[in-house]
Amino acid sequence: MLETFSSLLYGFTVAITPINILYCLIGVVTGTIIGALPGLGPSAGLAVLLPITFGADPVSGIIMLAGIYYGAMYGGSITSILINTPGDSAAVMTTLDGYPLAQRGKAGPAMGMAAFSSFIGGTFGVIVFTFLAPALAKAALSFGPPEYFALMVLGLTTLSGMTGESPVKGFISALVGLFLGIVGLDLVTGKPRFTFGMMELFSGIDFIPVAMGVFGIAEIIVAAEEKVNIEGLKNADLRWHKLFPSAMDWARSKWVIARGSVIGFIIGMLPGAGATIASFISYGMAKKVSKHPEQFGTGAIEGVAAPESANNAASTGAFVPLLTLGVPGSASTAILMGALMMFGLRPGPMLFERNPEFVWGLIASMYVGNIMLILMVLLFVPVFVRVLQVPKPSLNAVVIAFILVGAYSLNNSMFDVWLTIGFGLLGYFMKKMRYPGAPMVLALVLGQLLETSMRQSLILSEGSFSIFFARPISAVLMVIALSAIFLPLIKSMLKRVKVKNVSA
């Protein structure tokens, strides 16, 4: 413990040099902007800005790149709340309650709450990382295929919370998402499935074109067609002190944020899961345990706090496997790992011993970065909100341009642009016919991992399903998931029995 403190202090001496503070600032500012731009996610930003850091000292370079990565999580919520278009994939859930809040003239508190829960989640993540990273890395390793499967099942149970007015339509939407998830080269046999001979589909349908289409483009078409109520948006009271969530908001959100931070960090640590899935599960859990679940989706402040605390904690959690095991958990951390290797460092168990100035400098910079981010976001929220004053036609055109550029930047390919437009049209019809988009997007993300982990588990167990219940972590997750499905059923049955008894 004491040793950790002295290492951390040492880290601060590295992080608080003027040059490193400058790099950190550049990183978090760029990250926030990239996060806020629809379609441009942290991995595209990292890939492009990577070469800029080559001239720099490795510590400074990685401080900047890490700043882009976790800064993007702050930025993502801005466009989610203001224009119902998620800035990056981890901010999809923030649209569900953030935008309705903005429509009611509460854009300020929503963005304030997003910033504060991001800060709490992010800082919680860094603190846990500082003291527990090596121990946690071991825990993350105990997650094998059956555990991932159980986690994905648990994730899918949160679907029931997003079906909106008609459960049938919600489940149809989810099934479409699950189907989209199986497109691509089959992992086990290497054979293409539903690719219709298109090479671009071999690697599967990426989640971002779907989310950008269904949430971004569709929203804009509908808004252009109908008079969407934005009076609330325009008349929002955006004086500085109004940004701070009220005592009431805090009371409603405090446990949600605490839970979101823990869930986010744990899921972020698992290679392959990451911030997006963390935000889904955190939102679903918040709704499940809430006393007034019916308010979710109509502008509940907890609906903003839950995903935002989780995705920031997750982005810090992702550093655990990267730095302590040398295994990147996501596309973004793979780029960070590539950057480390180009700086001549080898991430992995030896990094803490060989390059302490580097590791602790980075960790310390994350404390600094989170403080910079909250200050910056709070200072600039009034400016961001002014975006809504831009005449609607110009704003829509610019947003569509952002989305399409972002889609192109995924793989530097036009295919993703067409895919995004296609899903935009699909999303438009879904909105018109009142099919919710969130279940489709959720099922797409979870479905790919669900299938993979299930097949891996069954290969390991040679076809026996008992593997999901024979291992402690997976068994516990399965029990939670199953009880989430069956408890409401049993409750309503018990109620009916009681009613019968009374009437009898």
């Binding site: 990239i34 990577l50 671009e200 040398g326 793979a334 080898r346 168990p349 004053q389 952002f402 390991l460």
Partner: protein
């Protein structure tokens, strides 16, 4: 109204930022370097060269391309900028097809790795090595079989014994169906007459995590990928698939030494589209030769990745490519993976 104008302007500016970030291909300002001192300025290159990586940023090919670019740029060996562009998807096919389309154009170069050979053989790519002009081979990479430090296995013989006693009792992890590690798993099964359980994962990182977490028992991986785990005493190699022992793993025997007649070596190098002008090929080959002899290359790439350096000029590299493609074809034929 004024505010609206300013805001529109700001939005337009942000759009420009987004266009630059989204579409740019990592510019490099080589312009500041001095012009080559030769009296006669070489005709090639007259403009920026696009270095296409058919995989995502952060992977093995990406690191290769970016290391080459960094050294060449730092040294000022090429008078024009080199832009690294990632074109991932379709296990490399999309990026390779993109470069092959630029027939005769020497301003596009690409990295070569195993799917350059395997994807066409499996019918997953519209282009093959015949659509490219080899420029130079730079290094040979191979695979080693890794176990956890506390594993019961210390040699491949023990693995084979146990697998024979208990068919399908040992789990081996790897990446998707047709990558190098999956190929080696099938070759090993075939040559040793054993049966293992193959558990595929989506990335090399996930495979390594599964090994360290004890979810699988064996893993074929590039030595460089696992070097950090070996140094930390978390994993060890029990056999390598190269024809000779490799640096950094001198105590690890080859498959051939262990009596299993199999080997796998992957050539990492650079290609241009077919029919590229010979003087451009020669120019790039010379630059890469200088690169391969530099201290920086040795330190930044060869040692870090535990790779065997071997420079091949364009003619020898062309031969090596044909040989490698034939080798994969033969393996696939045997394991029944070739597209008929």
């Amino acid at each position: 109204m004024k505010i609206k104008k300013i805001l529109t302007l700001i939005l337009a500016l942000m759009l420009v930022v987004s266009l630059v970030v989204g579409c740019s291909s990592t510019p490099k300002d080589v312009g500041k370097k001095e012009e080559p001192k030769k009296e006669e300025k070489p005709a090639y290159p007259e403009r920026a060269i696009e270095f296409v990586v058919p995989f995502s940023a952060g992977g093995g090919s990406d690191i290769l391309a970016r290391t080459i670019t960094k050294i060449i740029t730092d040294k000022g060996w090429v008078s024009q900028p080199i832009n690294v562009v990632n074109k991932p998807g379709g296990s490399g096919s999309i990026g390779y097809a993109y470069v092959a389309e630029k027939k005769g154009n020497p301003y596009y170069i690409a990295t070569v790795s195993s799917s350059f050979y395997t994807a066409p053989l499996l019918g997953n790519s519209p282009v093959s090595y015949k659509d490219f002009q080899p420029v130079a081979g730079l290094a040979m990479d191979t695979l080693a079989l890794f176990v956890r430090e506390d594993s019961e296995f210390t040699s491949i013989k023990q693995v084979i014994e146990k697998a024979k006693a208990e068919p399908k009792g040992i789990a081996i992890g790897g990446t998707s169906g047709t990558s190098d590690d999956a190929v080696m798993y099938r070759v090993l099964q075939d040559k040793a007459g054993i049966e293992l359980k193959y558990v595929p994962f989506e990335s090399g990182g996930q495979v390594m995590t599964a090994l360290l977490g004890g979810h699988v028992d064996l893993v074929w991986a590039n030595p460089g990928e696992a070097l950090n785990q070996v140094e930390a005493g978390k994993a060890r190699a029990i056999v390598v698939a190269s024809s000779e022992r490799i640096p950094g793993f001198e105590n690890v025997p080859t498959l051939i030494e262990e009596g299993i007649n199999a080997k796998l070596a992957q050539f990492r190098g650079v290609v241009m589209p077919k029919d590229a002008p010979p003087e451009a090929v020669k120019y790039m080959e010379d630059v890469l030769k200088k690169l391969s002899e530099s201290k920086e290359w040795q330190e930044m790439y060869i040692e870090k990745n535990s790779i065997t350096p071997r420079f091949l000029g364009h003619e020898e590299f062309a031969k090596a490519i044909v040989e490698l493609s034939d080798m994969y074809a033969e393996i696939f034929e045997k394991i029944g993976a070739t597209k008929k």
